[in-house]
Symmetry: D2
Subunit: 263 residues, 4 copies
């Protein structure tokens, strides 16, 4: 029924069956982290290098012990970075700790209240990282022009927010996401703002190539069950996109177009 093999997600030349990417923050403990991530079916797991031990502290538990890089593609991210230099340095540290692994998720935040990206600093950092040989997946706002610039710089995936990080509000501006998808040649993944399963399905129905989330799973009452829900929601949304939904109309009758209406 499912179509993972015939419809893979390809990022930086590597093929994935799952279109759900997850983070590792906010879980009760490492055991819950591992079980939720397993239930999500995710193959790419993003890790906040500034908050999580991937080898910086030799004497403390290493998250890679429960998320072995043989099984998961580790995606180090720059969460908590507010300027170009810190973000670039964080990516280089991650590459070193991960033996040359060059896939990163870049985020350069604009302020602590909204956690919106600073797109200017993001563009500068992306340019430096691409030139330095990184495969850059990049968190951005939902502005189609900014997304196009990030693609032009050479980012391997563009990741617009659905809503503010950690808000759970769902896709605030579906038309912007749709425009970004229509314009893009690289994968577009919604990153940040998803709160429940239907949000993830909607992102995929808009044509996104994947969804990245953390709080929506980790802050649910039952994270492992929510991880399973998200796995199915992403698959459902992808299949609905590929299946080609019926056009919406006011009524079943042939003569009930929606043109000119927009509520």
């Amino acid at each position: 029924m499912s179509t993972p093999l015939s419809d893979p997600l390809i990022i930086a030349g590597k093929t994935y069956r799952s279109r759900l990417l997850v983070g590792t923050g906010k879980y009760k403990d490492l055991d819950e982290t591992a079980r939720a991530i397993a239930a999500s079916g995710a193959e790419i797991v993003t890790i906040a290098v500034r908050r999580t031990n991937i080898g910086q502290n030799r004497d403390e538990p290493n998250i890679l012990d429960v998320l072995p890089p043989e099984r998961y593609t580790i995606l180090p991210n720059t969460a908590g970075c507010y300027d170009v230099e810190t973000a670039v340095r964080t990516c280089r540290l991650a590459r070193e700790l991960l033996d040359g692994h060059n896939l990163v998720k870049l985020e350069v935040l604009g302020d602590e209240k909204t956690l919106f990206p600073n797109v200017l600093e993001t563009l500068k950092a992306a340019e430096i990282l691409v030139k330095d040989g990184f495969a850059v997946m990049v968190y951005t706002n939902d502005d189609p022009v900014v997304a196009r610039e990030l693609e032009a710089i050479g980012c391997v995936a563009v990741m617009p927010l659905a809503a503010p990080i950690g808000s759970g509000l769902g896709i605030r501006n579906p038309l912007n996401i749709l425009t970004i998808v229509e314009n893009a040649k690289v994968p577009i993944l919604v990153d940040a703002g998803v709160g429940t399963a239907s949000h993830a399905a909607q992102a995929m129905e808009l044509g996104c190539d994947g969804v990245l989330m953390n709080t929506a799973i980790a802050a649910a009452k039952h994270p492992v069950l929510m991880a399973s829900a998200m796995r199915k929601a992403v698959e459902a949304g992808r299949e609905a996109f590929l299946a080609g939904r019926m056009p919406p109309r006011r009524f079943a009758s042939a003569s009930s177009p929606l043109e000119g209406l927009f509520f």
Copy 2:
């Protein structure tokens, strides 16, 4: 990961694993009908008795040949009925043709343009059918007071519309559906108006016990794939409901409640 066995849908005393109910109209041919229904995982299939042969015409193909009652719970419906008498007569005909099977879906329509129910006639017909021994699942508008009346009459499930039949617009008034769910002791299933997978997931996230659809699957470009999408979406939405989603808030920070905002 999934929880079908521990979380069954119970209608009229019978237990179901699937919470997706489907119709049989608008498919290309009977083969596509059968394949799509199989892909949906549905265990309850609704059939418009006035439009579909379940034995009325002995010489024509019988839909029960591809939907054997041993495998599927057949749910005869009164689509196309605009008054109490026709609706009641249609249910009695179905019971006769199906050897005393007394589960029916009642719909009494109000007009041909909107296909909205006529709730007055629906209430009258429901009362007659319940007294006559039918187990009545009933299509209605999204008015919480009407839903409560239908439950009080003895209907075994109440099925508010998400949007007009065949519109594919999704849930027009989620707060009304939520209120109906909160007030109910019988199963609440969204019936009519779902257009794509995220709509089905949202219905389940609101706490509905199931979703019934036909056009959303049959009128997709690839109905079998859409049927699979809907199966996963209903499961995703149910699991998300059970998992207990994170509360929405404007920002990740603790001090960003949404109270008083409502966009």
Copy 3:
């Protein structure tokens, strides 16, 4: 600039310049009531007969002292009635107290939690009142079939809710209101659920003939200023409706229709 004289609201044969109808509940005192209603420009003021003294209690202050029937069309309503008999009796009492004045607003509520109408009881009461010579303006849900029935019975205006009474949520289902307007020959006025000025404007843009509100004005921090806001919003919405808005489209370019999109 405005067009009140050339574009009157006509209810039960009487002509009004203002399309904003207001209630009298929840104000700090009678003085604030009078000032807010004056600022609203309303010509029709609805009064809850079961809660407000219009002469039942000879020794107490009479609201008609600050809302003289020479200046305002008094619209007695049946707020707080949950059955046919009480509603009908309340209307007859009002007619007696108001010397034969036969314009009433009928509401028969379904429950105390939602304050949704009980449309069955409403239809029965409406039938009795119309036969008894009343000019009935009737509060109802947003079901187009129920609205049509109420018009068929002989109600002089049909008043669907935007959202639950006192909620301030705005128009929950604009497509239903639009359908009611399209089908109607009598005036359609949105009643209940408006919370702020843009809601009132939107109701008028959908083609409604007027808006009735109470809490949105009385429960604002500054009721008199909100009354002025609502007056302008209703005029703005009416003028925008008459002016014929530009069609929405995704982009300014000619080739950006919205057909098939519906967020």
Copy 4:
């Protein structure tokens, strides 16, 4: 009733009664332009210098003949500019033609399809213009971090889009607009995307200081009447904002908060 004098809009030190700013494009002829602008009550009128004659062509009709600078504050804009240099040059040309008048509206567009701003080029151009002594009102996307940067550079007003220019879709992301308003010390005016009166009212209810529009008036069937509608809508929205709307809630009862719900 109204509060124009006690609640002025102040931009670059000058005081205005009207909070509605309008453009001059897309009208049938100059007479219609003049009548619509008069009906709008606007005191600030924006003119696309690259498309409209304000003196560049001595032998052709000059729009300032129908919009005398003694009566209107002329706001030259850089519509049609896609790079820093053209935008800056256009502003300087306008200043020259208008005898040193230094108030401009800067827009640097990102592409012809969406007409979204290019925020990077916009920031660069804004910086140059501010240093060159211009009072810059600036068109931008609805990103709160970009808005804050534009304010930090010294722009006198920040003008986020509601939706793409010429789309008439209304405010796509009210929470973003609200965040921009909350963070700002300079006036925030919604620019682009308003389609009808309720949209303008909503912008003001969010706390915006004003609204700028062109197509919504000029492309209405009756532009002069729509101009009047918009005038009233902006006043209505402003008054509603100042009046302090009732909090939305699910039901009138005290125990029906909306927290945790977000449809």
